[in-house]
Amino acid sequence: MRYLRLAAVYLRLGVFNELEYRGNLVVQVFQSLLGLGTALGGLAVVFSYTDNLGGWAPAELLGLLGVYFVVGGVINLVIQPSMQRLMEDVREGTLDFSLIKPADAQFLVSVRQFQLWRGVDLLIGLGLLGIALRDLGATLGPASALAFLVALAAGGVIVYSFWMMLSTLTFWVVRAENILVIFQSLYQAGRWPLSIYPSWLRYGLTFVVPVAFATSVPMEALSGRLSPAALAGAVVLAALLLWLCRRFWLRGLKHYSGASA
Protein backbone atom coordinates (compact mmCIF):
# COMPACT_ATOMS: atom_id res chain seq x y z
CA MET A 1 0.00 0.00 0.00
CA ARG A 2 1.13 3.44 -0.83
CA TYR A 3 1.20 4.73 2.69
CA LEU A 4 3.39 1.90 3.83
CA ARG A 5 5.90 2.84 1.19
CA LEU A 6 5.77 6.47 2.22
CA ALA A 7 6.44 5.53 5.81
CA ALA A 8 9.39 3.44 4.68
CA VAL A 9 10.81 6.38 2.75
CA TYR A 10 10.58 8.63 5.77
CA LEU A 11 12.18 5.98 7.89
CA ARG A 12 15.09 5.65 5.49
CA LEU A 13 15.55 9.41 5.35
CA GLY A 14 15.43 9.58 9.10
CA VAL A 15 18.02 6.86 9.42
CA PHE A 16 20.45 8.53 7.02
CA ASN A 17 19.95 11.82 8.77
CA GLU A 18 20.60 10.42 12.18
CA LEU A 19 23.61 8.43 11.07
CA GLU A 20 25.28 11.75 10.53
CA TYR A 21 25.09 12.32 14.23
CA ARG A 22 26.79 9.22 15.48
CA GLY A 23 27.78 10.95 18.69
CA ASN A 24 24.14 11.06 19.64
CA LEU A 25 24.02 7.28 19.79
CA VAL A 26 26.61 7.21 22.53
CA VAL A 27 24.77 9.90 24.44
CA GLN A 28 21.49 8.05 24.05
CA VAL A 29 22.87 4.71 25.15
CA PHE A 30 24.31 6.36 28.23
CA GLN A 31 21.04 8.11 28.98
CA SER A 32 18.99 4.97 28.51
CA LEU A 33 21.29 2.93 30.70
CA LEU A 34 21.04 5.55 33.40
CA GLY A 35 17.26 5.42 33.14
CA LEU A 36 17.32 1.65 33.26
CA GLY A 37 19.64 1.67 36.24
CA THR A 38 17.41 4.06 38.11
CA ALA A 39 14.30 2.02 37.41
CA LEU A 40 15.93 -1.27 38.29
CA GLY A 41 17.49 0.26 41.38
CA GLY A 42 14.09 1.40 42.56
CA LEU A 43 12.65 -2.04 41.93
CA ALA A 44 15.51 -3.68 43.75
CA VAL A 45 15.06 -1.56 46.84
CA VAL A 46 11.33 -2.21 46.88
CA PHE A 47 11.73 -5.94 46.46
CA SER A 48 14.27 -6.18 49.23
CA TYR A 49 11.28 -5.72 51.54
CA THR A 50 8.54 -7.71 49.90
CA ASP A 51 7.97 -10.29 47.23
CA ASN A 52 4.86 -8.86 45.77
CA LEU A 53 3.63 -5.37 45.09
CA GLY A 54 -0.14 -5.02 44.89
CA GLY A 55 -0.27 -8.69 44.03
CA TRP A 56 2.31 -8.45 41.26
CA ALA A 57 5.39 -10.67 41.34
CA PRO A 58 8.86 -9.27 40.63
CA ALA A 59 8.89 -10.86 37.17
CA GLU A 60 5.62 -9.13 36.32
CA LEU A 61 7.04 -5.81 37.46
CA LEU A 62 10.06 -6.43 35.30
CA GLY A 63 7.77 -7.12 32.37
CA LEU A 64 5.88 -3.93 33.14
CA LEU A 65 9.13 -2.04 33.04
CA GLY A 66 9.83 -3.67 29.69
CA VAL A 67 6.53 -2.49 28.28
CA TYR A 68 7.23 0.95 29.74
CA PHE A 69 10.52 1.11 27.84
CA VAL A 70 9.08 -0.31 24.64
CA VAL A 71 6.15 2.09 24.48
CA GLY A 72 8.25 4.96 25.76
CA GLY A 73 10.78 4.15 23.09
CA VAL A 74 8.19 4.25 20.34
CA ILE A 75 6.83 7.54 21.66
CA ASN A 76 10.26 9.14 21.72
CA LEU A 77 11.28 7.53 18.48
CA VAL A 78 8.55 8.86 16.24
CA ILE A 79 5.47 10.24 17.99
CA GLN A 80 7.10 12.93 20.07
CA PRO A 81 9.45 14.23 17.35
CA SER A 82 6.68 14.30 14.77
CA MET A 83 4.24 16.08 17.06
CA GLN A 84 6.87 18.58 18.04
CA ARG A 85 7.64 19.27 14.40
CA LEU A 86 3.94 19.62 13.67
CA MET A 87 3.52 22.24 16.35
CA GLU A 88 6.56 24.13 15.09
CA ASP A 89 5.18 24.02 11.58
CA VAL A 90 1.87 25.44 12.69
CA ARG A 91 3.62 28.19 14.59
CA GLU A 92 5.94 29.11 11.74
CA GLY A 93 3.45 28.60 8.95
CA THR A 94 5.56 25.90 7.28
CA LEU A 95 2.79 23.34 7.58
CA ASP A 96 1.82 24.43 4.09
CA PHE A 97 4.65 22.35 2.66
CA SER A 98 3.02 19.23 4.02
CA LEU A 99 -0.44 20.27 2.98
CA ILE A 100 0.32 20.70 -0.68
CA LYS A 101 1.74 17.21 -0.97
CA PRO A 102 -0.52 14.65 -2.62
CA ALA A 103 -0.90 12.46 0.43
CA ASP A 104 -2.97 12.58 3.55
CA ALA A 105 -1.58 15.34 5.71
CA GLN A 106 -2.31 13.70 9.03
CA PHE A 107 -0.39 10.62 8.03
CA LEU A 108 2.52 12.69 6.75
CA VAL A 109 2.91 14.80 9.82
CA SER A 110 2.62 11.79 12.09
CA VAL A 111 5.47 9.72 10.72
CA ARG A 112 7.93 12.06 9.15
CA GLN A 113 10.19 12.94 12.03
CA PHE A 114 12.43 10.31 13.61
CA GLN A 115 14.85 10.33 16.46
CA LEU A 116 16.51 7.10 15.53
CA TRP A 117 18.67 6.65 18.58
CA ARG A 118 15.70 6.57 20.89
CA GLY A 119 15.28 3.10 19.46
CA VAL A 120 17.74 2.06 22.13
CA ASP A 121 14.90 2.25 24.64
CA LEU A 122 12.91 -0.11 22.46
CA LEU A 123 15.72 -2.64 22.51
CA ILE A 124 16.11 -2.34 26.25
CA GLY A 125 12.39 -2.83 26.71
CA LEU A 126 12.37 -5.93 24.54
CA GLY A 127 15.27 -7.30 26.50
CA LEU A 128 13.46 -6.74 29.79
CA LEU A 129 10.33 -8.36 28.40
CA GLY A 130 12.37 -11.33 27.32
CA ILE A 131 13.78 -11.82 30.78
CA ALA A 132 10.37 -11.36 32.37
CA LEU A 133 8.78 -13.86 30.03
CA ARG A 134 11.40 -16.44 30.83
CA ASP A 135 10.51 -16.13 34.52
CA LEU A 136 6.80 -16.17 33.84
CA GLY A 137 7.16 -18.90 31.24
CA ALA A 138 5.03 -21.52 32.88
CA THR A 139 1.93 -19.39 33.16
CA LEU A 140 1.96 -18.12 29.61
CA GLY A 141 0.07 -19.31 26.59
CA PRO A 142 -0.77 -18.24 23.05
CA ALA A 143 -3.95 -16.57 24.34
CA SER A 144 -1.99 -14.26 26.63
CA ALA A 145 0.51 -13.50 23.90
CA LEU A 146 -2.27 -12.56 21.50
CA ALA A 147 -4.06 -10.52 24.14
CA PHE A 148 -0.80 -8.77 24.86
CA LEU A 149 -0.25 -7.80 21.24
CA VAL A 150 -3.80 -6.59 20.88
CA ALA A 151 -3.58 -4.58 24.09
CA LEU A 152 -0.25 -3.15 23.02
CA ALA A 153 -1.63 -2.11 19.66
CA ALA A 154 -4.71 -0.58 21.29
CA GLY A 155 -2.49 1.22 23.77
CA GLY A 156 -0.32 2.54 20.98
CA VAL A 157 -3.33 3.86 19.10
CA ILE A 158 -4.73 5.46 22.24
CA VAL A 159 -1.45 7.18 23.08
CA TYR A 160 -1.02 8.35 19.50
CA SER A 161 -4.54 9.74 19.36
CA PHE A 162 -4.02 11.50 22.67
CA TRP A 163 -0.79 13.13 21.51
CA MET A 164 -2.30 13.97 18.15
CA MET A 165 -5.32 15.66 19.67
CA LEU A 166 -3.23 17.71 22.06
CA SER A 167 -0.91 18.72 19.24
CA THR A 168 -3.87 19.70 17.09
CA LEU A 169 -4.71 22.25 19.77
CA THR A 170 -1.88 24.40 18.44
CA PHE A 171 -4.08 25.32 15.52
CA TRP A 172 -5.99 27.45 17.99
CA VAL A 173 -3.64 28.03 20.87
CA VAL A 174 -0.04 28.49 19.81
CA ARG A 175 1.51 27.92 23.21
CA ALA A 176 -0.16 24.54 23.64
CA GLU A 177 3.22 22.91 23.01
CA ASN A 178 4.04 22.52 26.65
CA ILE A 179 0.94 20.54 27.41
CA LEU A 180 2.64 17.40 26.15
CA VAL A 181 5.12 17.70 28.99
CA ILE A 182 2.26 16.65 31.25
CA PHE A 183 2.16 13.27 29.57
CA GLN A 184 5.92 12.84 29.90
CA SER A 185 5.73 13.64 33.61
CA LEU A 186 2.78 11.37 34.30
CA TYR A 187 4.26 8.57 32.22
CA GLN A 188 6.62 7.78 35.07
CA ALA A 189 3.66 6.51 37.03
CA GLY A 190 3.34 3.80 34.40
CA ARG A 191 6.34 1.95 35.79
CA TRP A 192 4.19 0.61 38.58
CA PRO A 193 0.99 -1.45 38.47
CA LEU A 194 -2.15 0.59 38.22
CA SER A 195 -3.80 -1.29 41.07
CA ILE A 196 -1.61 0.24 43.75
CA TYR A 197 -2.89 3.75 43.07
CA PRO A 198 -5.93 5.17 44.88
CA SER A 199 -9.06 5.22 42.79
CA TRP A 200 -8.92 8.88 41.87
CA LEU A 201 -5.35 8.53 40.57
CA ARG A 202 -6.28 5.33 38.75
CA TYR A 203 -9.08 7.18 37.04
CA GLY A 204 -6.83 10.06 36.09
CA LEU A 205 -4.13 7.78 34.74
CA THR A 206 -6.62 5.87 32.64
CA PHE A 207 -9.13 8.32 31.31
CA VAL A 208 -7.56 11.74 31.64
CA VAL A 209 -4.01 10.97 30.59
CA PRO A 210 -3.97 7.42 29.15
CA VAL A 211 -0.77 6.23 30.78
CA ALA A 212 -2.41 3.02 31.94
CA PHE A 213 -3.25 1.92 28.42
CA ALA A 214 0.36 2.33 27.44
CA THR A 215 1.90 0.16 30.11
CA SER A 216 -0.27 -1.48 32.74
CA VAL A 217 -3.04 -2.77 30.49
CA PRO A 218 -0.78 -4.59 28.02
CA MET A 219 1.18 -6.14 30.87
CA GLU A 220 -2.00 -7.25 32.55
CA ALA A 221 -3.00 -8.90 29.28
CA LEU A 222 0.32 -10.70 29.16
CA SER A 223 0.08 -12.04 32.69
CA GLY A 224 -3.50 -13.04 32.21
CA ARG A 225 -5.00 -10.53 34.60
CA LEU A 226 -6.96 -8.69 31.97
CA SER A 227 -10.53 -9.79 31.47
CA PRO A 228 -11.71 -10.23 27.86
CA ALA A 229 -14.27 -7.51 28.51
CA ALA A 230 -11.60 -5.07 29.54
CA LEU A 231 -9.54 -5.96 26.50
CA ALA A 232 -12.51 -5.40 24.24
CA GLY A 233 -13.12 -2.12 26.01
CA ALA A 234 -9.59 -1.01 25.28
CA VAL A 235 -9.97 -1.85 21.61
CA VAL A 236 -13.26 0.01 21.37
CA LEU A 237 -11.76 3.00 23.13
CA ALA A 238 -8.82 2.95 20.74
CA ALA A 239 -11.11 2.98 17.71
CA LEU A 240 -13.22 5.74 19.20
CA LEU A 241 -10.25 7.93 20.05
CA LEU A 242 -8.73 7.43 16.62
CA TRP A 243 -11.96 8.53 15.02
CA LEU A 244 -12.22 11.56 17.33
CA CYS A 245 -8.64 12.46 16.64
CA ARG A 246 -9.29 12.37 12.91
CA ARG A 247 -12.30 14.63 13.14
CA PHE A 248 -10.43 17.05 15.37
CA TRP A 249 -7.53 17.14 12.94
CA LEU A 250 -9.76 17.91 9.99
CA ARG A 251 -11.41 20.66 12.01
CA GLY A 252 -8.03 22.08 12.82
CA LEU A 253 -6.96 22.03 9.19
CA LYS A 254 -10.03 23.96 8.22
CA HIS A 255 -9.26 26.54 10.84
CA TYR A 256 -5.63 26.74 9.76
CA SER A 257 -6.28 27.27 6.08
CA GLY A 258 -9.16 29.59 6.81
CA ALA A 259 -7.03 31.72 9.05
CA SER A 260 -4.13 32.10 6.64
CA ALA A 261 -6.35 32.92 3.68
Binding site: V27, F30, Q31, L34, G37, T38, G41, G42, A44, V45, V46, S48, Y49, T50, N52, L53, G54, R175, N178, I179, V181, I182, Q184, S185, L186, Q188, A189, R191, W192, I196, Y197, P198, W200, L201
Partner: protein, 266 residues
Protein backbone atom coordinates in the same frame (compact mmCIF):
# COMPACT_ATOMS: atom_id res chain seq x y z
CA UNK B 1 24.29 49.37 48.86
CA UNK B 2 25.55 47.93 45.63
CA UNK B 3 24.96 44.23 46.05
CA UNK B 4 21.54 44.65 47.58
CA UNK B 5 20.51 46.79 44.66
CA UNK B 6 21.65 44.05 42.32
CA UNK B 7 19.63 41.46 44.23
CA UNK B 8 16.51 43.57 43.99
CA UNK B 9 16.99 44.22 40.29
CA UNK B 10 17.60 40.54 39.54
CA UNK B 11 14.51 39.64 41.57
CA UNK B 12 12.39 41.95 39.45
CA UNK B 13 13.86 40.64 36.22
CA UNK B 14 13.29 37.00 37.11
CA UNK B 15 9.80 37.63 38.44
CA UNK B 16 8.85 39.47 35.26
CA UNK B 17 10.20 36.66 33.07
CA UNK B 18 8.41 33.94 34.96
CA UNK B 19 5.14 35.83 34.98
CA UNK B 20 5.39 35.73 31.20
CA UNK B 21 5.71 31.97 31.39
CA UNK B 22 3.19 31.21 34.13
CA UNK B 23 1.53 28.34 32.34
CA UNK B 24 4.79 26.76 31.28
CA UNK B 25 6.18 27.12 34.80
CA UNK B 26 3.19 25.31 36.23
CA UNK B 27 3.52 22.51 33.73
CA UNK B 28 7.19 22.12 34.50
CA UNK B 29 6.33 21.76 38.17
CA UNK B 30 4.37 18.67 37.30
CA UNK B 31 7.34 16.37 37.09
CA UNK B 32 8.44 17.40 40.54
CA UNK B 33 5.04 16.48 41.91
CA UNK B 34 4.44 13.20 40.12
CA UNK B 35 7.64 11.51 41.14
CA UNK B 36 7.33 11.82 44.93
CA UNK B 37 3.64 10.95 44.67
CA UNK B 38 4.42 7.74 42.81
CA UNK B 39 7.00 6.66 45.38
CA UNK B 40 4.61 7.61 48.12
CA UNK B 41 2.04 5.21 46.75
CA UNK B 42 4.58 2.47 46.12
CA UNK B 43 6.07 2.56 49.60
CA UNK B 44 2.69 2.85 51.30
CA UNK B 45 1.64 -0.26 49.44
CA UNK B 46 4.76 -2.12 50.53
CA UNK B 47 4.21 -1.01 54.11
CA UNK B 48 0.65 -2.20 54.12
CA UNK B 49 1.55 -5.60 52.79
CA UNK B 50 4.28 -5.90 55.43
CA UNK B 51 2.03 -5.61 58.43
CA UNK B 52 1.46 -1.89 58.37
CA UNK B 53 4.99 -0.65 58.83
CA UNK B 54 8.44 -0.75 57.32
CA UNK B 55 11.27 0.15 59.64
CA UNK B 56 10.10 3.28 61.42
CA UNK B 57 7.65 4.19 58.67
CA UNK B 58 3.95 3.48 58.61
CA UNK B 59 1.82 4.19 55.59
CA UNK B 60 1.03 7.61 57.03
CA UNK B 61 4.69 8.10 57.79
CA UNK B 62 5.57 7.56 54.15
CA UNK B 63 2.88 10.04 53.13
CA UNK B 64 4.35 12.71 55.35
CA UNK B 65 7.88 11.87 54.24
CA UNK B 66 7.24 12.17 50.52
CA UNK B 67 5.02 15.24 50.77
CA UNK B 68 7.66 17.11 52.75
CA UNK B 69 10.41 15.72 50.56
CA UNK B 70 8.67 17.11 47.50
CA UNK B 71 8.83 20.58 49.03
CA UNK B 72 12.40 20.36 50.25
CA UNK B 73 13.62 18.94 46.96
CA UNK B 74 11.96 21.81 45.16
CA UNK B 75 13.34 24.39 47.55
CA UNK B 76 16.89 23.16 47.18
CA UNK B 77 17.11 22.19 43.52
CA UNK B 78 18.61 24.27 40.77
CA UNK B 79 18.87 24.23 36.99
CA UNK B 80 22.13 26.16 36.98
CA UNK B 81 23.97 23.40 35.13
CA UNK B 82 21.59 23.72 32.20
CA UNK B 83 21.78 27.48 32.45
CA UNK B 84 25.54 27.60 31.95
CA UNK B 85 25.44 25.08 29.14
CA UNK B 86 22.86 27.33 27.50
CA UNK B 87 24.94 30.46 28.07
CA UNK B 88 28.00 28.89 26.54
CA UNK B 89 26.04 27.60 23.56
CA UNK B 90 24.34 30.95 22.86
CA UNK B 91 27.49 32.96 23.30
CA UNK B 92 26.11 34.81 26.28
CA UNK B 93 28.94 33.83 28.57
CA UNK B 94 30.98 36.79 27.32
CA UNK B 95 28.41 39.14 28.79
CA UNK B 96 28.58 37.35 32.13
CA UNK B 97 32.33 37.84 32.14
CA UNK B 98 32.10 41.51 31.22
CA UNK B 99 30.06 42.36 34.30
CA UNK B 100 32.02 43.85 37.18
CA UNK B 101 30.35 41.44 39.65
CA UNK B 102 30.69 37.75 40.34
CA UNK B 103 27.92 35.96 38.44
CA UNK B 104 26.91 33.75 41.36
CA UNK B 105 25.03 36.59 43.03
CA UNK B 106 22.58 37.07 40.19
CA UNK B 107 22.30 33.28 39.78
CA UNK B 108 21.29 32.74 43.42
CA UNK B 109 18.67 35.45 43.38
CA UNK B 110 17.30 34.18 40.09
CA UNK B 111 16.90 30.73 41.62
CA UNK B 112 15.28 31.92 44.84
CA UNK B 113 12.88 34.22 43.04
CA UNK B 114 11.57 31.38 40.92
CA UNK B 115 11.01 29.27 44.03
CA UNK B 116 9.16 32.00 45.83
CA UNK B 117 6.73 32.15 42.97
CA UNK B 118 6.30 28.42 42.53
CA UNK B 119 5.90 27.81 46.25
CA UNK B 120 2.51 29.48 46.08
CA UNK B 121 1.38 26.56 44.00
CA UNK B 122 3.37 23.78 45.63
CA UNK B 123 2.39 24.35 49.24
CA UNK B 124 -1.29 23.58 48.61
CA UNK B 125 -0.27 20.53 46.57
CA UNK B 126 1.82 19.24 49.47
CA UNK B 127 -1.04 19.89 51.85
CA UNK B 128 -3.39 18.02 49.54
CA UNK B 129 -1.07 15.04 49.35
CA UNK B 130 -0.84 14.92 53.10
CA UNK B 131 -4.60 14.97 53.41
CA UNK B 132 -5.35 12.52 50.61
CA UNK B 133 -2.88 9.94 51.89
CA UNK B 134 -3.53 10.42 55.59
CA UNK B 135 -0.10 11.64 56.51
CA UNK B 136 1.11 11.42 60.06
CA UNK B 137 2.70 14.76 60.67
CA UNK B 138 3.08 16.09 64.21
CA UNK B 139 6.62 17.31 64.72
CA UNK B 140 7.83 18.89 67.97
CA UNK B 141 8.14 22.68 67.89
CA UNK B 142 11.90 22.69 68.29
CA UNK B 143 12.23 20.53 65.20
CA UNK B 144 10.17 22.92 63.12
CA UNK B 145 12.31 25.84 64.27
CA UNK B 146 15.52 23.92 63.71
CA UNK B 147 14.29 23.10 60.22
CA UNK B 148 14.75 26.67 58.98
CA UNK B 149 18.54 26.92 59.32
CA UNK B 150 18.89 23.32 58.12
CA UNK B 151 16.94 24.19 55.00
CA UNK B 152 18.95 27.34 54.39
CA UNK B 153 22.21 25.45 54.75
CA UNK B 154 20.92 22.68 52.51
CA UNK B 155 19.99 25.17 49.81
CA UNK B 156 23.33 26.95 49.94
CA UNK B 157 25.29 23.74 49.96
CA UNK B 158 23.39 22.24 47.04
CA UNK B 159 23.45 25.43 45.01
CA UNK B 160 27.17 25.89 45.42
CA UNK B 161 27.87 22.29 44.47
CA UNK B 162 25.67 22.45 41.41
CA UNK B 163 27.16 25.81 40.47
CA UNK B 164 30.60 24.22 40.60
CA UNK B 165 29.38 21.39 38.37
CA UNK B 166 27.90 23.98 36.02
CA UNK B 167 31.41 25.29 35.45
CA UNK B 168 32.11 22.10 33.51
CA UNK B 169 30.54 23.94 30.59
CA UNK B 170 33.75 25.92 30.33
CA UNK B 171 35.61 22.77 29.42
CA UNK B 172 33.23 20.73 27.35
CA UNK B 173 29.97 21.03 25.49
CA UNK B 174 29.02 17.47 26.32
CA UNK B 175 27.96 18.17 29.86
CA UNK B 176 24.72 16.22 29.64
CA UNK B 177 26.34 12.93 30.61
CA UNK B 178 27.88 14.51 33.69
CA UNK B 179 24.65 16.24 34.63
CA UNK B 180 22.50 13.15 34.30
CA UNK B 181 24.84 10.97 36.30
CA UNK B 182 24.72 13.60 38.99
CA UNK B 183 20.92 13.72 38.96
CA UNK B 184 20.64 9.96 39.33
CA UNK B 185 23.10 9.99 42.20
CA UNK B 186 21.14 12.74 43.92
CA UNK B 187 17.92 10.82 43.31
CA UNK B 188 19.14 7.77 45.15
CA UNK B 189 21.35 9.27 47.79
CA UNK B 190 19.36 12.26 48.93
CA UNK B 191 16.42 10.11 49.90
CA UNK B 192 14.06 10.65 46.99
CA UNK B 193 13.58 7.05 45.97
CA UNK B 194 13.25 5.82 49.52
CA UNK B 195 14.11 7.17 52.96
CA UNK B 196 17.82 6.66 53.46
CA UNK B 197 17.25 4.52 56.51
CA UNK B 198 15.52 2.00 54.28
CA UNK B 199 18.27 1.66 51.72
CA UNK B 200 19.94 -1.74 51.66
CA UNK B 201 23.38 -2.02 53.25
CA UNK B 202 25.83 -1.09 50.49
CA UNK B 203 23.66 1.76 49.20
CA UNK B 204 23.18 3.11 52.70
CA UNK B 205 26.93 3.12 53.22
CA UNK B 206 27.49 5.13 50.06
CA UNK B 207 24.74 7.52 51.08
CA UNK B 208 26.41 8.24 54.38
CA UNK B 209 29.62 9.50 52.83
CA UNK B 210 28.18 11.50 49.99
CA UNK B 211 27.01 15.09 50.58
CA UNK B 212 23.61 14.52 48.96
CA UNK B 213 21.87 13.45 52.14
CA UNK B 214 22.45 16.93 53.51
CA UNK B 215 20.60 18.41 50.54
CA UNK B 216 17.23 16.84 51.20
CA UNK B 217 17.15 13.86 53.55
CA UNK B 218 18.50 15.65 56.61
CA UNK B 219 16.08 18.62 56.63
CA UNK B 220 13.17 16.33 55.78
CA UNK B 221 13.85 13.88 58.60
CA UNK B 222 14.42 16.81 60.94
CA UNK B 223 11.09 18.49 60.32
CA UNK B 224 9.30 15.14 60.52
CA UNK B 225 10.54 14.87 64.08
CA UNK B 226 12.64 11.81 63.34
CA UNK B 227 15.93 13.16 64.63
CA UNK B 228 17.18 13.71 68.15
CA UNK B 229 18.67 17.09 69.07
CA UNK B 230 22.07 15.47 69.09
CA UNK B 231 21.63 14.11 65.59
CA UNK B 232 20.41 17.52 64.47
CA UNK B 233 23.47 19.26 65.84
CA UNK B 234 25.72 16.72 64.17
CA UNK B 235 23.80 17.35 60.97
CA UNK B 236 24.40 21.08 61.14
CA UNK B 237 28.11 20.43 61.57
CA UNK B 238 28.18 18.13 58.58
CA UNK B 239 26.32 20.69 56.47
CA UNK B 240 28.68 23.44 57.55
CA UNK B 241 31.73 21.33 56.77
CA UNK B 242 30.49 20.43 53.30
CA UNK B 243 29.52 24.07 52.77
CA UNK B 244 33.02 25.24 53.61
CA UNK B 245 34.46 22.74 51.16
CA UNK B 246 31.99 23.89 48.52
CA UNK B 247 32.95 27.53 48.99
CA UNK B 248 36.59 26.72 48.38
CA UNK B 249 35.66 24.67 45.33
CA UNK B 250 33.53 27.43 43.87
CA UNK B 251 36.34 29.96 44.02
CA UNK B 252 38.91 27.58 42.57
CA UNK B 253 36.74 26.29 39.78
CA UNK B 254 35.52 29.75 38.81
CA UNK B 255 39.05 31.04 38.51
CA UNK B 256 40.12 27.97 36.56
CA UNK B 257 37.07 28.26 34.38
CA UNK B 258 37.72 31.89 33.51
CA UNK B 259 41.34 31.07 32.75
CA UNK B 260 40.28 28.29 30.47
CA UNK B 261 37.62 30.36 28.76
CA UNK B 262 39.96 33.27 28.14
CA UNK B 263 42.62 30.96 26.80
CA UNK B 264 40.39 29.25 24.31
CA UNK B 265 37.73 31.80 23.60
CA UNK B 266 33.98 31.51 23.39
Amino acid sequence: MGLLGLYQAQFRTTAATHLQYRVESLIWLFGGIVEPTVYLVVWSTVAESSGGRLGTYTSGGFAAYFAVMMLVEHLTFSWIMHEYEYRVRMGRLSFVLLRPVHPIHADIVDNLTYKLMSLIFLLPVAAFLMWAFHAEFAPPLWAVLAFVPALALAFLLRFLMEWTLAMAAFWTTRVSALNQTYYVAVLFFSGQIAPLSLLPGPLADIASVLPFRWFVSFPVELVLGRLTPAETAAGYLAQAAWLAAALVLVRRVWRAGVKRYTAVGG
